[in-house]
């Protein structure tokens, strides 16, 4: 036995509620994140990610209350990302009950925030989210939720965040995201081979086979998915059974 691959459902949270429709659960309050997180834990999720897509400061504040409520009932790790602008935002999220916090735009703008946070809170809770798009000869990093070209090479940036003390990379393919055609294997491979910290593959998952492919063909430690779980096509348990049958070790 050794370290198992992780399956991570991701919930988009806006003003304290989950945005994407969630059909698999027979719950009264369908959009309430702590309840959904707990339900995913019961299915066997190895970790939960809350991605805050609130546009306002008030929405963010609501999220911290939600994180606190979740931490009291969730007994798997919780990662919170979206809208982190400074070290104090990260501190607030950790104090509220997040185990890890992911940074994206702010890390590109001010890379030293990675080392500052790693020093104060430990590398294991600093996740750098990298959104990238395929360009001639490689992949380019984007910030601001994919709206702004950071004009940086993805692999170089991945190496740099590792040097700065990031504990993990959450890698999203903007080309694959939303297509349900599968993860970008070449892209995931490029990053997972270049760094010595764990990599979470994200973007494009439409079936358990896609998760199997990215975990078998790359060195990624984990796969993140949203809609395949939310719409009840597959439970986390189904995916894990399938992975186990196909030779991938999972919990």
């Amino acid at each position: 036995m050794s370290l198992t691959k992780r399956i991570i459902p991701c919930l988009d949270v806006k003003n304290g509620a989950v945005v994407k429709g969630i059909k698999f659960l027979d719950l009264k309050d369908v959009g309430y994140p702590p309840e959904l997180a707990e339900a995913y834990e019961k299915q066997g999720a190895d970790e939960i990610v809350f991605l805050d897509i609130s546009a306002s400061a008030e929405g963010r504040k609501t999220l911290l209350g939600i994180v606190e409520e979740t931490a009291k009932r969730l007994f798997v790790p919780l990662t919170v990302g979206g809208g982190i602008r400074e070290k104090d935002d990260m501190r607030a999220a950790l104090n509220a009950g997040a185990d890890k916090v992911s940074v994206n735009t702010v890390a590109v703008q001010r890379p030293e925030i990675i080392s500052e946070c790693a020093k104060d809170f430990g590398s294991q809770c600093v996740v750098v989210a990298i959104d990238a798009k395929r360009h001639a000869g490689g992949w380019t990093v984007y910030t601001h939720g994919g709206r702004k070209d950071a004009k940086m090479d993805m692999v170089e940036w991945a190496r740099k965040v590792e040097d700065l003390g990031a504990g993990e990379i959450l890698l999203t393919s903007m080309d694959a995201d939303g297509t349900k055609d599968g993860y970008d294997i070449a892209m995931t491979k490029a990053v997972a081979d270049a760094v010595n910290i764990p990599v979470i593959a994200s973007g494009g998952c439409g079936s358990p086979k896609h998760i199997l492919d990215v975990l078998k063909e790359t060195r990624a430690e984990a796969a993140l998915a949203a809609s395949i779980f939310h719409y009840g096509q597959w439970t986390v348990k189904d995916v894990k059974t399938y992975l186990r049958q196909n030779g991938v070790e999972v919990r």
Binding site: M1, S2, E168, E221, R251
Partner: protein, 199 residues
């Protein structure tokens, strides 16, 4: 009478999950900021948040008294960094640890660091009795390397690393039971029962 647990708050990170988990196992949890109170506690839990020196900062003035209590057999659980500070020193920090466990904390040797995710613990120790699934959640770059034989459980991660420690009535875990779902809860339940019998 339910077990009263003194849960050390080093001033960094959150204690929501571990507090709730211990309460779910039937313990009454007092979050302690004044570390001198640890020396009077009937059960001590040193949680797993923060870095080595920062975590030791508040404990340092009471080091001798805490170690004496541990040697006398007060039940104690140290999680991750809360376990690592029981050693004499660490490659992660400059200052001393409690020195209750003999040996030091060393950096992991592996192509992927941190060791992050779910891995198994191999052990014969009674604290794992009835814990069916022994997958636990790990998130660490350092691990304890004891010289006193206190390592009673091990994990395979590019080599065999010590991940469960037992000495006197103290347990230390490299994994986070409070983040290890049903297996973690089952482990913590065993610890609370263990502590109740020895308080």
């Amino acid at each position: 009478m339910p077990l009263k647990v003194a849960l050390a708050d080093y001033g960094v990170g959150n204690l929501h999950s571990i507090r709730k988990a211990l309460e779910n196992c039937g313990a009454i949890v007092n979050v302690i900021e004044d570390m001198s109170l640890l020396t009077e506690a009937e059960c001590i839990v040193l949680p797993g948040v923060g870095a080595f020196d920062k975590t030791m900062e508040r404990l340092l003035p009471y080091k001798e008294d805490i170690v004496q209590r541990l040697n006398e057999g007060v039940p104690c659980l140290g999680i991750c960094i809360g376990m690592q500070i029981m050693f004499q020193n660490s490659a992660e920090g400059e200052g001393p640890g409690l020195g209750f466990l003999h040996g030091r904390v060393v950096r992991l040797k592996a192509p992927r660091i941190p060791h992050m995710g779910w891995n198994t613990v191999e052990t014969d120790d009674e604290i794992m009795n009835g814990v069916d699934d022994t997958h636990f959640y790990f998130a660490h770059s350092f691990h304890g390397s004891p010289e006193d034989g206190s390592d009673v459980g091990h994990t395979d991660y590019f080599g065999r690393i010590p991940t469960l420690f037992h000495k006197s009535n103290t347990y230390g875990t490299q994994f986070h039971p409070e983040k290890s779902s049903f297996a973690g809860m089952s482990f913590l339940n065993n610890f609370v029962r263990f502590a109740e019998e020895r308080k």
